[in-house]
Amino acid sequence: MKQIDTLVIGAGQAGLAMSHCLSERSVPHVLIERGDVANSWRHERWDSLRLLTPNWQSRLPDFAYRGADPDGFMTMPEVVSFLESYATHCAATVEARTTVTSVTQEGARYRVATDRGEWGCRNLILASGACNRPNLPAWAHELPGEITQISPLQYRSPELLPPGGVLVVGASASGVQIAAELRAAGRPVTLSAGHHVRMPRHYRARDIQWWLEHSGLLGMTTQEVDDLARARAVPSLQLVGNSRARFLDLNALQAQGVEIVGRLAAHRGGQVLFSGGLANAAALSDLKMNRALDEFDAWAARSGLPGLPLPERFAPTQVPARPRLSLDLPGAVSTIVWATGFRPDFSWLHLPVFDRKGRLAHDNGIVAPGLYVLGLPFLRTRKSALIDGVGADAMALADHLLHANGRKAA
């Protein structure tokens, strides 16, 4: 068994940022990566996807986008190349194509088994991502076998889906983008929308990420929110990495010919059933958007920013007066895309560190002595799961690690 002070599981933006922070603090460490650097960005994203954050916001410790298009949005190959450059910049030691199979505790150390040997370490950083597994309803496997079921992790492009209509379940960033792309390719598309958050791509001549960042919303910490569990579960904004269209919301999708239905509630007697509460889900979404815009406007007024266009408010979301409540399966639909959110996969972590719902329990990224996690939604701040947010978290946890180890040694 090889021994190392600190082991980092995952070589995406979180693992690489941590590697940089550990090197700066002279902490010996190795990154274990199941594939290559930026593996999820290489293999678990669809072809047309671009980052939801503009290039100027692609910032990591001691590294940032320096290209000619700060307001553009990276394609996936560009994200991969950005992170590869960062790995080179950090001189990170990455054990690529090595899959962790089990983590157990041995006294004050952790034992990490992989398909290429075992490691022992004093500190372990979980940086394996927040979106390893799609959230599917427990009954998804009971649906007729002739229905193709995929998640955004497997979806690539419309032509690779079997012919016919598609039911896209989930109206957050992935769901609305995939629904729009399938409809543009001529597919009949039904979009099942539960709770979602509508947001314009740009507002008062600035990108929405500029507003989120400068008004302080992205920097908000776990201490600054009333209900952390709820803040961690907020779905992604209805955005696409493209500044041409202002909205990719339910109105835009309906104008494109997508049929909007309520939250997918159940499967019964050869049908899937949708909630009749769609109008309220849309109303809640409009209210949330308007509250965010109110906050942006109030911040802009306080800050006395010159040259901003006047505030504006947008027409409410229109949903069908009588949305469809059921859909026969199989029938008009050959494929279901489950864009119902993701969760991390810690199935190999054999430690008593999970809450009653099976979620990794942590305090601002500190899981247990010597055990840390990075890159989860609202880990320490609202931007923790963003490329731009993981750096500050990595610095804070690296400081904690160094301090805790110093204390143990003394």
Binding site: A265, A266, L273, S275, G276, G277, L284, L287, R322
Partner: protein, 187 residues
């Protein structure tokens, strides 16, 4: 968002107790499993009476100081004696009560004083369904509309948010908008 001090607002809702209950259930989720029940006796024709008393919750059988009674019948146009509201009307009433109760609780939590609130509920039923005349017509409501009249110390947007949140957290709204497994057996 900044709210007024909830303590200065009185909608008659003990939100502190409800927030305390949330904390307790977080520690002991099994205690949050409740079973409500009603016993309905047929009296005559379409006339029946429900008696509602105890329920299960907080891990044990809960008794009440008194029992309640809800009667139901059909109106004269259905050749009945019209001694009580129809069952679908009771469903509409349950929705209205659930939403107005929720409204008061959310308003209390947000420090909004309610002066008056009324929910007018309408449900559309094509009775060809229950009469078995057309299999394409469902038995139940094809649509339900709720219209609120609210007088409160709040802006239009705050009132819209109260109404939206009361739906989001309503048991009956959920029961009506989402399918529910119903098992009927003979004892």
């Amino acid at each position: 968002m900044t709210y007024a001090d909830p303590k200065l607002v009185n909608n008659g809702v003990n939100t502190e107790a409800l927030i305390g209950a949330r904390g307790a259930f977080e520690q002991m989720p099994a205690a949050a499993s409740f079973t409500f029940r009603s016993a309905c006796d047929w009296i005559e024709g379409t006339y029946s009476r429900n008696v509602i008393g105890g329920f299960f919750g907080l891990g044990e059988e809960q008794k009440r100081r008194r029992t309640f009674s809800i009667e139901s019948d059909h109106p004269a146009v259905f050749a009945a004696a019209d001694r009580a509201p129809t069952p679908p009307e009771i469903v509409l009433a349950a929705l209205a009560s659930c939403l107005t109760g929720g409204l008061a609780a959310v308003a209390q939590h947000r420090g909004i004083q309610l002066r008056s609130a009324r929910a007018i509920v309408e449900g559309d039923i094509d009775v060809q369904g229950i009469l078995g005349m057309d299999p394409e017509i469902r038995n139940g409501f094809s649509a339900i509309r709720v219209t609120f009249e609210i007088d409160a110390d709040a802006t239009e947007a705050e009132i819209a948010a109260l109404v939206a949140q009361s739906q989001k957290r309503s048991a009956v709204f959920d029961i009506l908008t989402n399918p529910t497994l119903v098992e009927v057996s003979v004892a």
